[in-house]
């Protein structure tokens, strides 16, 4: 009755202690056809923390996430995840290493139900061969059921039971965001990247989402890196904050320190909010 999300499969390869560096980003630069999106950025994400990446529009926040999960390949700099330096790799490799994410503009699989969307998050953990899939009996069905149970735990955790079988396309925005979080959680990530999880939400939805993010962090010990626009939210949620502006890092530290930083104040005053 009170099953928890099974973390066994992850902890087997996750031998980093809480508080140690999980992801190290060193001197990353990224440009598109001469336009610099990110310039010489370094920071780290430590195991078990909620790390926020903030900055005004166009500061390179989303590009940074895209670099972390292998969607963009930086021209310079290195990234190491769980102590291993990585070379160019495809996003699915990052996913299989335990990096999972949500998107700024909800990127759900619009033709599928909530349940299937979250099941989709389990795809890396499902392996039964094509042969068994043909029959959808025996091992394939057992596997499906086993993962369904995990998905149901997540559904319960995020309180989306009532939309379980609804197509996601028709859901209100706030719920879509929640389903997306559920999908990312279904992958049992070591590092969870959230790209503006609270964008476009009303106050109540924001409070719910903050609660879920904290609970994910506390209950499952998932390390979270999140991008957010809303300074207030970040200051409440994050353990440490890195601030970007025009593709450069201008501050890094605890929320209070960052908030007092003159560079940060200038950057934020410089743009209309």
């Amino acid at each position: 009755m009170n099953a928890h999300v099974n973390q066994n499969s992850v902890s087997a390869i996750d031998n980093i202690a809480k508080g140690d560096v999980l992801l190290q980003v060193d001197n990353i630069s990224l440009s598109f056809g001469g336009v610099k999106a990110i310039t010489d950025i370094s920071f780290d994400i430590r195991k078990g923390e909620i790390r926020a990446i903030i900055g005004p529009n166009g500061a390179g926040k989303t590009s940074m996430l895209n670099v972390i999960n292998g969607f963009y390949h930086p021209q310079e700099g290195t990234i190491s995840f769980m102590g291993q330096q990585r070379t160019k790799m495809r996003p699915y490799v990052a996913a299989s290493q335990g990096i999972s994410r949500t998107f700024q503009n909800v990127a759900l699989f619009s033709g599928m139900s909530t349940l299937d969307n979250i099941m989709a998050g389990r795809c890396l953990k499902m392996h039964k061969s094509f042969f068994w899939q043909i029959f959808r009996h025996g091992p394939a069905l057992d596997e499906e059921i086993e993962h369904r149970k995990v998905v149901e735990d997540i559904i319960e955790f995020l309180e989306i039971e009532h939309i379980r079988k609804d197509p996601v396309g028709a859901l209100p925005y706030g719920l879509q965001k929640r389903v997306e979080l559920a999908r990312a959680l279904a992958a049992e990530p070591i590092l969870l990247l959230l790209d503006e999880p609270m964008a476009g939400m009303n106050l109540e939805e924001k409070e719910d989402m903050s609660r879920f993010i904290i609970e994910v962090n506390e209950q499952f010990g998932t390390t979270i890196a999140l991008i957010e626009h809303d300074m207030g939210v970040v200051m409440d949620l994050a353990d440490r904050v890195v601030v970007l502006d025009y593709g450069k890092k201008i501050a890094d530290g605890k929320p209070a320190e960052v908030q007092a930083d003159q560079n940060v104040i200038d950057a934020y005053l410089g743009v209309a909010h």
Partner: protein
Amino acid sequence: MELLYNIFIDPFVQMGAMPDFLLQVLWEGFVSGILYALLALGFVLIFKASGVFNFAQGIMVVFSALSLVSLYAAGVPAYIALALAILIMAALAVTIERVVLRHLVNQDDIILFMATIGLSYFLIGFGELIFGGEPKAMITEELGLPTGSTTFDIFDGILILQHIDIAAAVIAAILVAVLAIFFSKTRIGRGLRAVADDHQAALSVGISLNQIWAIVWFASGIVALATGIMWGAKSDVSFALQIVALKALPVLILGGFTSVPGAIVGGLIIGFGEKLFEVYWGGLLGGGVEGWFAYVIALIFLLFRPQGLFGEKIIERV
């Protein structure tokens, strides 16, 4: 060894041995390249302005040419028939906009594409019902187009140039020039460009999307008519052309979907490539390679440069 020789050496030996023949082949390639370019031009016009990949461009070529020929056969003087054919294309453009496109605004590209396939089927049935399915001869002379040929002595051999082919090249050049002027100098033309860039922006400067769609379809109808006349003059006007017209696709792949110069360069590449390959390498494969060569070229090309010849590198965003 022999195979390698046949593939890599022998064709070039032959080219060197008979340069006049090579020239002749290149000319033929040039001419079909022009026609491909014209076909592609019709696609580009519509795609540029509306983002619709118009699968029915081929049938529009056939339909316009058949209208012209049938009107003449019904006793209408050639030039009046030409004018009427243009009017028919205008009517067709307006009808398509009213009946089809208007209802599909904001749909996925793929839906619009399918709709043009449906349109193409409809026009095939409709065309065959009105004009009959059998091939017809183009009224080349009656339209005042040259028909003869000139023979040049060159490299100890001869080069035969059909006058109609020369005319085709000239007309294509004129069309392209006119279109270029139309796009850059006229208000409507600039409007079209605005639409292509940004629908909202276009609306804000007071251009009706519906009008624009009708206009581009009409413009591409005229291009289709020109293509139909030229093509008809070389062979007959028949519905089989419709399948040939699909070759505009690989042309577009090479040239890019929105570029007029790209369409021309792409057309020429395909035209030259196809003829040379057919003549010098086709024999090795048993001939008839024209049917697929263009596609395979495009396919190979795509693998190395998915954004096309003139397209910019695509940056995917999340």
